[in-house]
Amino acid sequence: MKSFLQPEQWTMAAASHWLLVTTVLLSVMACSSVPAPVAELAAAEQAILTAEQARVNTYAASELAQARQKLQDARAAVVQKDMLQASRLAQQSKLDAELALARAGAAEALAVNDEMKKSTEILQQEMLRNQTGVKP
C-alpha cells in the first residue's frame, strides 16, 4: 500500500489518515472475524490524493467533495463494524475521485481548445481588419 505514495508526498493529513485506518482495522480485527476493507480504503485514499494533486478542484469540485464524503462514511462504517458497507463506500469513493480526475482532465482539455480557438479567431479578425486597410 505504501508503494502508492512517494515519500515526499507524505503529509500530516495523510499520515493521520493512515494512523486512523490502521487503528480502526486493528481494533476491528481484534474482536471480529470479518476483515476491514483495507485495500479499498487505501485505494480510495490514493485516488483522492491523485485528484487533489491534479488540481481537480478547479473543474470537478463537486465530484471530489463527494469522494471525500464517501471515504468519511466508509471509515464510519468500519467503526460501526459494517465492513460490507465500508467496502462499498470505499469503492464508490474511489470511483468518485476517478470521475473527478477524468472530468477535470476533459474540462481542462476543452478549455485549452477554446482558448486556442479564440486566439485563432482573434488573429483572423485582426487580419480581416488589416485587409480593410486599417493599420494595427
Binding site: 469503492q91 464508490q92 468518485d96 476517478e98
Partner: protein, 330 residues
Amino acid sequence: MNYLKRSAPTAVAAAMSLMLLGACASKPATPEGVINARQQLNKLQASADLAVLAPVAIRQADAAVQEAEKPTKDQALSDHLVFIADRKVNIAWAQAQDKHAQDQRKLLTDARDAARLDSRTREADLARSDASVARNDAERARDEAVAARTAAEQERMAAEQARSGAEQDRLAAEQARNAAALSQQEAESANAKAAALQAQIAALNAKTTERGLVVTLGDVLFDTAQSNLKASSSSHLANLAAFLKSYPERGVIIEGHSDSVGDEDYNFGLSQRRADSVQGYLLGQGIAASRITTAGKGESLPVAGNDNASGRQQNRRGEVIITDAVTASN
C-alpha cells in the same frame, strides 16, 4: 467422484429449494437505475469517433453495467453495482472527451499556426508597403527639397541680377548726373568763354560782319607810304595777340588796304607789305604762322571817298578778320 456421491442428496435438496423459491417468489427484475447507465454507454459506443478513444474504460464500464444488470434481490448490492456502473460509464465518457479534445488540438494548432502565418505575412506585406510608401514619401520630399533649392537659387540669382541692375542703374544715374554736371560745367565754361570772348572782342573794337569778326586797324598804325608799324599801335595789336593766344583754335586773315594816291601797283604792294608787317608782329608774339593768312588788297576796297583827306585816311587801313578755325583761313 467421491464428492459427487457424498453430496448428491445435498444437491438434490438445493435444486428443490431453488425450484420452490422460483415458484413462489416473483422473478427479480433488472434494476431500474442501470437503464440510464446502459443508455449512456450505448451512446458512447455508438459514437464512432469517441468509442475508439477510451477502449479500456468502455470495456470496464460495459462489464460494470452487465454486472449491475444482473437481477438480484439484494437492493443494497444492486444500488452499489448501479452506482459503480454509472460512474464507470461517466469516466469512460470523460476520458473519451479528453482524448478527443487532445486530438482536436492538433487541428487547432495547425489552424492557429496558419492564421498566425497569414497574419505575419500580412504584417510583413503591410510593413513592406509602409516602407515603400515611406520611401516614396522620402523621394518626393527630396525632389521637393531639390526643387525648393533650385527655386531659391533662381530667386537668389534674380535678386542678384536685380541688385546688379539697380547698381548699373545707379551707376548710370551717377554717370548721367556727372554728365549733366559736366555739361553744365561745360555750358558754364562755354558761357564764361563766350563772355570772355565778348569782352575781348569789345576790347579789340571788333565788328561782327558776314565775313566774321573784323578788326579794323586804322592808318594810325602806319605812316603814309610806310609799312612799318607805329610804336603807338603796339597796344592795339597786343590786344589782338592776347586774343589769339586765348583762342588757339581761331585763325586770322590780315588784309592790307591803301588809298588811291599814287600808282595802283605801288598801292597793291604797299598794302601787302602792311599786312606782312602785322603778320610779323603777331609772329613775334608767338602766334603760329599756320594761323595767319595775309592778303594785299591795294586801293580796290575803299570804305570812304578818296577825294578828301579824311576819306583817304579811312581807306589807308588794315583789316584783321578773325576766323572760327585755323583751317577756315579764307
